[in-house]
């Protein structure tokens, strides 16, 4: 099994103003990066992560900090595997929250629905797409999250059809 190619952003920003540090941290989090150390963030290499990290590097420099972007591989298969597993488990919590949310929506839909179910479900589906995009190594719960969302969508649709609707009208 080959080792993953990784990109490492090594950066340092002045302590003040803190907004730059927060912005960079947020962006790395949004990309699904993991910190190996303070100021050393890793992502698997592809065209998108490379581009995003290049812009982030520029941003750090524009904010008066220092940043270098590296690509490489850990020395051993074991270290590579450890990092891949860390990436996988970093997505688990979010998938679990989506699964719990989707189950809730499905149960409510089966009990007769509610006005806000579609919006709630849409939000969960959007969250799922965001997670999937930064889930570089297919975390264990991805498939389950996808299936539970599909089941919830179906339950909401069935709850919406005139025959299946259970008294959610205005009561005229």
């Amino acid at each position: 099994m080959g080792k993953t190619r990784w990109l490492l952003l090594v950066y340092h920003l002045p302590r003040e103003p803190s907004r730059h540090r927060v912005a960079v941290w947020r962006k790395l989090k949004a990309l699904g990066a993991l910190y190996l150390q303070d100021g050393v963030a890793a992502l698997p290499e592809d065209a998108v992560t490379r581009e995003q990290l290049e812009w982030l590097q520029l941003r750090v420099r524009e904010a008066g900090g220092e940043a270098t972007l590296w690509e490489g591989q850990p020395n051993t298969q074991a270290e590579d595997k450890e990092l891949v597993e860390a990436f996988r488990s970093s997505r688990e919590e979010a998938y679990q929250a989506i699964i719990a949310g989707a189950e809730r929506v499905r149960r409510k839909a089966e009990l007769g629905g509610g006005e806000t179910l579609l919006a709630e479900l849409g939000k969960l589906e959007r969250e799922f797409r965001v997670e999937r995009r930064r889930d570089y190594f297919r975390a264990a719960s991805r498939k389950e999250a996808s299936e539970v969302l599909k089941a919830a969508r179906q339950a909401v649709r069935e709850g919406e059809s005139p025959s299946g609707k259970l008294g959610t009208g205005s009561g005229d």
């Binding site: 949004a30 065209a47 581009e51 797409r129």
Partner: protein, 138 residues
């Protein structure tokens, strides 16, 4: 004029290439390089770190082009929002189109042999977006 940018174009660069041909320089030629050191002499660089026509502050390169060339077209401003959200993935404008555009251009990039071919194909995409949004916006 010769315009140059990095290889492996995605939404921002393909949209800029269309914008250049359509609104800035109809005679434009393009070169795509791997490393900025390989950029052809005298070419105008865009979407390259440190270039004038690139990211600035919160703006992506497409937004910078609109400002630099004073392109005050409301339809282009709408496209700029979509390109921004697809490029920076920060949901600044909450444009639902960007999610689809991101996937489509990413897929075309994988399916087509090089950036020359990619940008030729994406021209039709942005032209379509411009025509369609023109009907909604104007």
């Amino acid at each position: 004029m010769l315009w140059a940018t990095r290889r492996g174009c995605h939404v921002d660069r393909t949209a800029c290439a269309w914008l250049i041909k359509r609104f800035v320089d109809p005679e434009a030629n393009f070169a795509f390089f791997k490393d900025p050191e390989e950029a052809p002499e005298g070419a105008k660089l865009f979407d390259v770190a440190g270039a004038r026509l690139s990211h600035h502050g919160e703006d992506c390169s497409f937004e910078t082009f609109l400002k630099e060339y004073d392109l005050q077209d409301p339809v282009l401003s709408e496209i700029a929002e979509i390109v921004h959200d697809a490029d920076l993935m920060d949901e600044k404008y909450g444009r639902s189109e960007s999610e689809g555009l991101d996937v489509i251009v990413r897929g075309m990039q994988l399916a087509l042999p090089d950036d020359e071919s990619l940008t030729r194909h994406t021209d039709a995409l942005y032209e379509g977006l411009y025509t369609y949004l023109g009907r909604e916006v104007l």
